[in-house]
Amino acid sequence: MLNDILHAFGTIADPMCLSMLVFGVIFGTVIGALPGLGTAVAITICIPFTLKMGSGPAIALLLGVYASSIYGGSISAVLLNTPGTPQSACTGMEGYPMARAGKAREALGWVTMSSVMGGLISCAVLVVAAPSLAALSVKYGGPLEICALICMGLACITSLSEGSHVKGILMGVAGLFLATIGNDPQTGEMRFTFGSQNLISGIDLMPVVVGVFPLAELFFRVYESFAQKAPKAIQCSGMKLPSWSDWKVKGRITNLLRSSLMGCGLGILPGTGATAATFIAYSSAKRISPNGKNFGKGEPDGLIAAESSTNAVSGGALVPTLAMGIPGEPVMALMLATLTLHGITPGVRLMADNPDIVYATFILLIMANLSLIPAAWFCIRGFGKIIAFPTAILLGLIVICSLIGVYLPRGNMFDVWMTLAIGVVAFFMRITSFPVAPLLIGYVLSNQLEYRMSQVCIYLGGGSLLDYTLDHPVAIALFVVAIILLVLPFFRKDSSDWECRTDIDVM
């Protein structure tokens, strides 16, 4: 193990790796601070640049962007009252009143420190939980168990589709189906190609990702520009980090630990994501905190709960992705896909086959969280300029990076046209409130699910499925959890309440 950790340090000591991490953190903070763009778009823009890099710098860039873009959204929530990302909505509820009261520097200080602390606590959980979970998966990871695990990941589709679960299921099935087009992974026989040569190798991941996120977002921003007026920012030239005496106020450290662990735990569970974690942690803190009555009026306890839980999700969400190859949220599906493009297959074998990559990921995530403080200084000082950046230039660059990213992996123009088609469909789905995240999760998990199902059939050898299942109690338990996860949101009374308040679609 010590050897692996030393090897991981060797990987990240590369100047290219460190510079990519720094660039990723700054870029992620800036993109996160721009309302509407968010983590998925920031990561998608970076993917083409990673294709020619080694795996170390590529992971550094993506982790830097991932950790910082969540935080970046909070800056616009405090100074603009427009959360840059959906998960920053609670931060806006506390941070904006504080900024309005002339305490913008203090609010940003609390936001930054809580984010960093939440992120670091989640890194600690990741370091402990991922190897243990991987070891358990190796022990109990038969095809039926993996099938059940994937079903658990898919069951989160209903929780990602607040408002209409049927819409979520339809989009998830669409994603699962898209992945079946082309060559069958086992026999090489063709399915649903309708005679098209271009469809023989299937629909690549990049057209799906780029169509669903950056391109649909571009159309949505053009659409929104006719519906909304540009918000006005509160001027602020820096931040004031909270002192130790500020932290010592009764209940604050407990609040930080509770909210971070809550965020981390909810991040591990598939489908809950940072938005749900934030609202749950925020409402718990409101109930428990001695200053609960001041929530909504600019209370630091509220900021601590919201920010630490949001950033703690990053480490938590990486646990099932790295240990089992099951992404619980769309951003993790993107990370998973990019790692696969680099020849790294997250899952039960990752710990055994590439332990240096796993440890490098842990170290890079810790470093990314620590880099948030200098990135915050940079971003807050230039925030006025960032939001004044002409939308046309920004969107133009997003289109260029996205389409080049689609063209690069296969050098095929068909992929570019497919992206455009998926982007238009995803845009219409978004304005009709069909959640697009289940489509991506379905697409990423589909091939694995079919492969494992086929393995189960071969193992059965014509025997009874019931008997085979009864011999696998772990799989039964996982299937039961999957069914509960799938069905529970249908019975949850007005579960969309807390998310609707943000008026932002959960991407």
Partner: protein, 151 residues
Amino acid sequence: MANRGNILLGGIFLAIGLILLKVAYEPHEMLFADPNALHIMTYPKILIYIWIIGSVFYAFGKKDCSTWDDFKKSKFQLLKVLLCIAFYAITFEYLGLFISTLLFLLVFFWVMNYRNRLTVPVALLCASITWISFEKLLGIPMPRPFFLDLF
């Protein structure tokens, strides 16, 4: 309760599902697989059945509250942006990265009403940065302009 929009969209989904189901039921021989392996159409069939059931639930389920007012206001702008990207995709293949990016940005800025004395220099700068980053620094092979092959 159900409204016309739901029934129309649900109907379209249902039609897509039925067409795919028809394709899935066409005979497909399993030439290379283990005799016990899952048939190549079994998994898609399961998905299509779930899709069809979901479509019916959607068509006759909770009323969809989506409004199209903002879309009506922005539809021409959206169409212009879409055509702009399509124009980029076409020119990218024949004119190469630099020229197509420059042309795309000029047209896109014009469509997005970004028209001032900086428009051309910004487009030129962005196209140059893109070209240098992808073709020179990352060394990624891109389509060559067709006229270079003429000489």
